[in-house]
């Protein structure tokens, strides 16, 4: 019986990695839940409201995008549209080349991972340095983030200290404060040398054209302090209609992501430096990135684009906790990734068609999602899509259901199978009422077969 790739990955995951992921996700999830239910009377209604706002955005992107473009331009920003990852990378390069820029510092943005920007820029002789501590460590190690909020959730501080030593950032010392101080010293210089600061945006208000950035390390502010040019890479779904929507969304985002009332830094950027301001970037470029999003929008899974990247779904997910993020082989791991990654893969959907299978459909992700995305329903839709596409990766481990469905729609055959259950081991597994019993028995003991007993009892008893 074929075992799914993510399960194989989980089985090979070193115990200390799993323990690190498990502890961190569990703690964050529990704090998040306590905080939300402590501070709000009905968090579920807030989630539904936030989901409604984001869904409204998705359904009105055709008018909201031109509106935000006009607003941004009125604020002095330059707006670019990138249909693909390649186009987005090329836009960044064009902006940099026009300024003769060669050095870029980068605050955390998932879109830049998605379009593999660092790799592209390096090929053009441009250094793009990560300034978020976690992403910085990932970059040093040529590793990949394993969580969208905590990129190094899979690493312990001993590994980090070793890699700092390897990269000449000081002799081995795994004290977290030392690690942070060393990274800070190294990055300070880089901030000053950089020509361009690149960020994402957590939200963009259509009403005011404000870009909203949240961080805990203040690195996005530093990234925009010295450089004269700011590039923001923004997925087209990041809009909110009004500034006042931010009140709800920021409150939910920080609590859901890190169990904070508010992140340490929340920046509102309304254009490049004004003539009256002493400093700041003189140019602001906003690159709106599609990269497969309009296809998702046209699909029955469009609700996944409400996502505000808080990571709560992966924190609560029992599968993520066992497998960790790299098991998902894509930029977005966990429940959100199991939906989004195969969809963004476009024609390469079959290569990630197993991701939607990596769920017991327990619904914990939906229950915590601050924008109320019905992730289990979307996973089910993608399973159906995988089956119809005949994707072998999706099929692994799932017994064929055709014969079973035939049996389960013919009462006489069904009853015969129930009675025949005593010869359970001689029947092909797919003919049993519960398809996968045989494989199941490897690690569990089956209860005694009692097929037909209830119906016999019901027939023969004297009704009260």
């Amino acid at each position: 019986m074929a075992q799914q790739l993510i399960d194989q990955f989980a089985a090979r995951l070193p115990a200390d990695r799993r323990a690190a992921v498990y502890q961190s996700t569990k703690t964050t999830h529990e704090k998040r839940t306590a905080m939300l239910f402590d501070q709000f009377a009905e968090p579920h209604r807030l989630r539904a409201l936030a989901g409604g706002i984001k869904q409204h955005v998705l359904e009105n992107l055709d008018t909201l995008l031109p509106a935000v473009e006009a607003k941004l331009q009125a604020n002095g920003a330059q707006v670019h549209w990138a249909a693909t990852a390649e186009a987005a990378c090329a836009a960044v390069l064009r902006i940099m080349q026009a300024r003769g820029a060669t050095k870029l510092v980068k605050a955390k943005t998932m879109v830049s991972e998605e379009i593999a920007l660092e790799h592209f820029l390096a090929a053009h002789g441009i250094e793009a340095l990560e300034t978020d501590l976690g992403e910085f460590i990932v970059q040093l190690d040529h590793d990949r983030p394993s969580h969208i909020v905590r990129p190094i959730i899979h690493k312990n501080r001993r590994e980090i200290a070793q890699s700092f030593e390897r990269h000449g950032l000081g002799a081995y010392d795994d004290d977290p404060q030392t690690i942070t101080r060393r990274a800070r010293q190294f990055l300070r210089q880089k901030y000053l040398q950089a020509d361009v600061g690149l960020t994402g945006a957590n939200f963009v208000s259509v009403e005011s054209g404000r870009l909203v950035l949240v961080t805990n390390e203040g690195n996005s502010r530093f990234s925009l302090a010295a450089p004269k040019c700011h590039i923001a890479l923004v997925g087209i779904e990041k809009l909110v209609p009004r500034d006042r929507d931010l009140g709800l969304l920021l409150n939910l985002l920080a609590r859901s992501a890190t169990a904070q009332q508010l992140t340490v830094y929340t920046e509102f950027i309304t254009g490049p430096k004004a003539a009256t301001q002493p400093d700041g970037p003189e140019e602001l470029h906003v690159i709106f990135v599609d990269n497969g999003r309009t296809d998702v929008l046209a699909s029955e899974c469009r609700a996944i684009l409400r996502c505000i990247r808080c990571g709560a779904c992966m924190n609560v997910c029992p599968v993520y906790r066992q497998a960790s993020g790299h098991a998902y082989r894509s930029v977005y791991p966990g429940p959100v990734g199991a939906v989004l990654s195969p969809l963004l893969a476009g024609k390469k959907f079959p290569e990630l068609a197993d991701l939607p299978k990596a769920s017991s459909l327990c619904g914990a992700c939906h229950e915590v999602c601050p924008v109320d995305i019905p992730i289990p329903d979307l996973l089910l839709r993608l399973r159906d899509q995988g089956k119809r596409a005949g994707a072998p990766l999706a099929a692994a481990g799932t017994p064929p259901m055709g014969a079973w469905a035939l049996l389960a729609s013919q009462p006489a055959a069904w009853k015969a199978a129930l009675l025949g259950g005593k010869i359970i081991n001689y029947l092909p597994t797919k003919l049993l009422p519960v398809p996968p019993l045989r494989a199941w028995e490897k690690s569990r003991t089956l209860p005694e077969w009692r097929g037909g007993e209830f119906r016999r009892w019901l027939r023969h008893r004297t009704t009260p």
Binding site: A10, E367, V434, P447
Partner: protein, 252 residues
């Protein structure tokens, strides 16, 4: 979380869907369901042609196969009476999963209509019939597993209300209540390692609370957990909530 919009219950005639697990393994749970419903004054109709709710195929991704089984179920449970299942997960299949798989089908309305009169047993007793307590005595410390398909439905609060009203019952708390047991139907076969690890974590939390027995509104979770415990040589006692209600009646 689940779509559980329900038609108000007017009469006391119900149709029973035993579920394939009770048909094949847990006949006593189906019996207890009958006895509990009868105690609540219901008259029970058991359509002989019933098979399975179709969930294995829906979750397995074979929606064409799932629809075939659902159509059979819709035909088998014709009429207007509530359909009662001793399983949160099979009930959710009929009121949530099936309509999802029929979104673009001409017979969606019939599937939705069945969904609106489908109830998990405990949800029905408390939120359908309006019971607030249950008579009798049952001496046990009970760990109540939160079956995932009861998320967002009335089943869990209902089970707690009735269990707590029984003399002698103590419901014990245990850690990580929101976490799944790791069954997930075909998930447990395609993801044997993760499924097992999830089950073991759940068992660890339950054992730490030292209950006399583990209860649920779903036999599938209990089959998985008790199967795992027995395989490890440390069997645990399991009971469907219906069995506890039925047994409590003996001393009412």
């Amino acid at each position: 979380m689940l779509n559980a919009e329900r038609k108000p219950v007017t009469g006391k005639r119900v149709q029973l869907m035993a579920t394939c697990l009770c048909d094949a393994f847990y006949d006593d749970v189906a019996r207890a369901t009958v006895e509990v419903l009868e105690h609540a004054g219901c008259t029970i109709d058991f359509p002989e042609g019933q098979t399975c709710c179709g969930q294995p195929a829906l979750n397995g991704g074979d929606w064409a196969a799932a629809r075939k089984v659902v159509r059979h179920t819709v035909r088998t449970f014709a009429g207007e009476d509530p359909v009662i299942l001793p399983s949160g997960s099979c009930a959710a299949m009929l009121f949530h999963g099936a309509p999802l798989a029929f979104e673009h089908e001409p017979d969606l309305a019939a599937v939705e209509a069945l969904g609106r009169r489908t109830w998990e047993l405990l949800d029905f007793l408390v939120n359908g019939l309006g019971l607030t307590s249950w008579p009798g005595r049952y001496d046990a410390r009970i760990a109540l597993h939160r079956a995932c398909h009861a998320r967002g439905t009335g089943s869990l609060p209902a089970a707690l209300t009735l269990l707590r009203s029984i003399r002698g019952v103590e419901v014990v708390e245990f850690g990580e209540l929101e976490q799944c047991c790791g069954f997930g139907g075909t998930f447990s076969v395609a993801f044997p390692h993760i499924s097992q690890a999830m089950g073991d974590l759940k068992l660890e939390h339950i054992r730490a609370a030292r209950p006399d027995l583990l209860a649920s509104v779903d036999m599938s979770c209990l089959m998985h957990l008790s199967g795992r415990a027995a395989h490890e040589g440390q069997p645990i006692k399991i009971r469907h909530v219906a069995q506890i209600l039925r047994d409590a009646l003996a001393s009412a």
